[in-house]
Symmetry: C2
Subunit: 178 residues, 2 copies
């Protein structure tokens, strides 16, 4: 039976989403981490991805000022660290130190990557649009890397090895083959 959803529950009619950790950098070169449920691919040629970030977040300012960010994809093993990165602010703390994550150098951008994540997209801001209560930021992927163990022989991602985090209402899940 179909149930009509009232206004405050409209988005419960939609799908779950992957959780990603975006990293970005301040003027002094310190990398911050933000937990995001808003991510989408939008183009293959050129390779473009979208994220949604509210301007109340410290990372919004850093991404806009420095014009770059990285997407780091966490495996279920680091759900607790991922969750903590979502409820603390880089204005107050160094999230790498505080939450026990390891920064590693990116290939082409200043922001550090998160070693404990299995995949990494290094992005330059390509455009941005104000959409309701979030800014939709489009990034061009200028470099990428992944843990060798989660790739097949053709360098395609095998998500049953990667075990990414899928959420709805911030309840965390991972994937299983159908």
């Amino acid at each position: 039976m179909k149930k009509v959803l009232e206004r405050s529950k409209l988005l419960q009619g939609g799908p779950p989403t992957s959780v990603v950790l975006a990293t970005c950098v301040d003027k002094e070169g310190n990398t911050n981490i933000i937990t995001l449920g808003m991510f989408m691919y939008i183009s293959q040629k050129p390779p473009l991805v979208c994220i949604g970030v509210t301007d109340r977040r410290y990372s919004h300012k850093l991404i806009m000022e420095q014009g770059e960010f990285a997407i780091n994809v966490p495996p279920v093993e680091i759900i607790d660290e991922m969750h903590q990165c979502g409820i603390t602010s880089g204005r107050d703390i160094d999230k790498f130190k505080e939450h026990g994550l390891t920064p590693i150098a990116a290939q082409k951008i200043k922001s550090a990557l998160i070693e404990e994540c299995y995949g990494h997209l290094e992005c330059r801001v390509w455009n941005h649009y104000e959409c309701g209560d979030h800014t939709l930021i489009v990034g061009e992927v200028i470099a990428a890397s992944a843990d060798a163990e989660v790739l097949d022989e053709n360098d395609n991602l095998v998500i049953t090895k990667a075990l990414p985090v899928i959420q709805k209402n911030w309840n965390y899940h991972t994937v299983i083959k159908t």
Copy 2:
């Protein structure tokens, strides 16, 4: 060990995504279905969602002309039908008839919804942006519904009941609680 991904494999460093079925309507009121791997929430107030559609698809024309679409979220039970909707064109066939899906009336838009899907977001086109090889279409959710069985007592979606489809490289998975 981190492996650098070459240009054609850059997006393998990213997360998997949900699969959704968008429905949209032609001038005569015939509803078409398109299978999409590009979906994102972008705003709570107002409720806005994004999809990515290439202008080579018949549905791109319909959504742009009629200014509306619905997001229907398929459960794993209809993976075959969902897959078929992605590899056929509504220019040639009626995908409901051809793939054994059932159209039901929406609350506020002309496009039919897909009964076999567990959740439905009825959207009016709010804005659109050209982003590389796809158009990023932002829709305002003006009505929504879901199968009563996949909602908890507060009308929040329980995805371990809904069993949505998660894909990377069009290999299909569903979710399991961590």
